[in-house]
């Protein structure tokens, strides 16, 4: 998943000559916290609601008046992203630099913004929870080929996998969470258990199998 897939656009911008009061009003009206500052089509800075609040605070030794220019308080060193970078690059940058958004530049042109909220949205999409699906959680030995064996066993049940998330629970064990395109995760789990897989969810029922599909 690339940054251009999760960024939002068009972008609301402000000029460096705009006053703090104007920038504040745009943020209030549109519900933004970040405003890129653009001059003659070039990104020259970024101003956040926090910048405005700190600069105008009564606690500030020399508080800025509402007529002060955005250029006086904006952050000039802007950290940006490229549209074709993967989203994990955006997450890494935002976490390391401790910032809440990244303007997306194509060459010199500002084409979008990625915020922490966009990344959470992407996380939801990655978990496959945006389509009707069932959830399957399996613990695998952390060895080559185990994930492939699991995928093969699921395919043998004619079930399609919508998403896979995995993380190493310990050096020995890999926890895998899958979204699958079926309502029938219990029978699927039973089939996988018969193949020797350690299925964490859905749980085994003590009374399984019950009177369901007739044998005759």
């Amino acid at each position: 998943m690339l940054i251009r897939d999760v960024m939002h656009y068009p972008v609301e911008t402000v000029a460096p000559q705009a006053t703090l009061a104007e920038a504040y009003r745009i943020m209030q009206q549109k519900g933004f916290r970040h405003l890129p500052v653009v001059e003659a089509g070039r990104l020259v800075g970024i101003v956040t609601d926090r910048d405005l609040r700190l600069a105008t605070s009564a606690l500030h030794p020399h508080p800025f008046p509402p007529e002060a220019r955005v250029a006086d308080v904006m952050q000039r060193r802007v950290i940006t992203a490229a549209p074709h970078d993967p989203i994990e690059e955006a997450a890494r940058l935002m976490r390391r630099q401790r910032i809440g958004c990244l303007p997306v530049l194509e060459g010199e042109v500002l084409i979008g913004m990625v915020t922490a909220t966009d990344l959470l949205e992407a996380l939801l999409r990655l978990t496959g929870a945006d389509q009707p699906s069932g959830r399957l959680e399996v613990q695998l030995a952390h060895l080559p080929g185990r994930l492939a064996a699991l995928a093969t066993a699921i395919a043998a049940q004619q079930v399609n996998v919508l998403s896979i998330l995995s993380y190493a629970e310990s050096p020995q064990w890999l926890r895998v969470v899958l979204r699958v395109d079926t309502n029938r995760t219990h029978p699927l789990a039973e089939a996988l258990r018969r193949e020797g897989f350690d299925v964490i969810w859905p749980p085994r029922k003590p009374w399984f199998p019950s009177s369901t599909i007739p044998t005759t």
Partner: protein, 378 residues
């Protein structure tokens, strides 16, 4: 006598012998009612027309179902949820699905003309069908098609869904409407198909505040389920002032259900059905349309739907089931069946500490939901 809508062709909605949504469940129920000597007075519904289906579904989707139904190869079937493990293609599936839509629709039309108050559709409840997609054993959304007929007649509809799965199709179709209140109680989408139905799904635009979801913890038992129901449903009906209730009575929250993880017994269902009937009497002058739904343990599902029927008809509940009926079906299914109408014993449960924790979490869910939603009501 509550009229029952049923057609023998309902049994043609059949995904094959390996599929859990089996017409055998209806056949078992029907023969049980016969054996109990309380066979219903039946209204035979006409098959729903293509135009009826198009009230809710898109032309592109319906054309795919029709093609699949005639055995034509469909390269993009899966994009429409067809030819999947949950909704395999079978010959005649379009007609079979329209037959069941016809029943729910017929019941709705009888309600609009005032020819009946309470009705039971012995089938239907396809709450996962989306306008452009089959899903979760559902092809055409009979519930929403019927709801459209009711709202077009100027009625305010409260839809109550007690199937263990979230009623995602019905919710999505009426998400922007303020004349339809949807309430779904289900095992949380964190654990169970279709993975939606969280408390913050409250509707959009005019529909904001008219979509309620009660996601329950896995292993929720009778007491906690009924308590949570009481914390939400009666208040929602007081607020909404519906003219009619549409109730999807899936039986898959039962502890024996092979697809889900709640622990209800038939006792909870008895109380639930009595309560729903009383709520209809209180809020809509008993105008209510009950449908069936999910329920994949043959033994439990048949007994739960028999309870629904007997309670709606004000008939006494027998203690034991007719032995001839039971033995015949035990032979046919190759498994033992419960000899009594109610479950004989408590289900295997989780530890008392865990039970308490689950109940508390459900209370909290109901409280958070009511806090969030009442902002839009008052």
């Amino acid at each position: 006598m509550v009229p029952v809508v049923y057609h023998p062709d309902y049994l043609s909605y059949n995904f094959g012998p390996e599929h859990p949504f089996s017409p055998l469940r209806l056949e078992m129920l029907w023969t049980l009612l016969e054996a109990l000597d309380c066979r219903p007075h039946v209204l035979c519904p006409p098959v729903a027309s293509r135009a009826d289906v198009l009230r809710v579904h898109t032309e592109t989707y319906v054309a795919r179902v029709e093609a699949a139904s005639q055995g034509e190869p469909l390269p993009d079937a899966e994009a429409f949820g067809l030819g999947t493990p949950d909704v395999p293609i079978f010959l005649g599936m379009d007609h079979a699905a329209r037959t069941l839509v016809g029943g729910t629709l017929h019941a709705a039309r009888l309600l609009t003309t005032g020819k009946a108050t309470t009705l039971l559709q012995l089938g239907g409840g396809f709450h996962h069908a989306h306008p452009n997609r089959a899903s979760g054993f559902c092809i055409y959304n009979d519930l929403s098609i019927a709801i459209r007929v009711l709202t077009e007649a100027g009625l305010r509809v409260a839809y109550i869904d007690i199937d263990v799965h979230h009623g995602d199709g019905v919710q999505a179709i009426h998400y922007h409407e303020d004349t339809v209140l949807t309430i779904s109680l289900h095992e949380s989408g964190q654990y169970l198909f279709p993975g939606t139905g969280f408390i913050d799904e409250i509707g959009e635009g005019r529909g904001q505040g008219f979509s309620l979801n009660v996601p329950l913890q896995p292993f929720t038992d009778d007491a906690s389920y009924l308590e949570t129901f009481e914390r939400v449903v009666p208040h929602a009906l007081v607020m909404f002032r519906p003219d009619v209730l549409v109730i999807q009575c899936g039986a898959d929250a039962h502890f024996k259900d092979p697809l889900a993880d709640l622990l209800l017994t038939t006792r909870a269902y008895e109380q639930l059905f009595r309560r729903l009937k009383a709520l209809a009497a209180e809020h809509t002058g008993s105008r209510a349309l009950f449908t069936l739904g999910g329920g994949y343990d043959f033994d439990a599902t048949t007994r739960i739907w028999a309870l629904l029927y007997l309670i709606l008809q004000d008939l006494p509940l027998p203690d034991r089931l007719p032995p001839d009926w039971r033995v015949a079906w035990e032979q046919r299914l190759g498994c033992p069946l419960t000899p009594t109408l109610h479950d004989p014993s408590e289900p295997l449960s989780v530890s008392p500490a865990r039970r308490h924790q689950i109940a508390q979490q459900n209370v909290q869910t109901a409280q958070r939901l009511m806090d969030m939603i009442s902002y839009y009501w008052y």
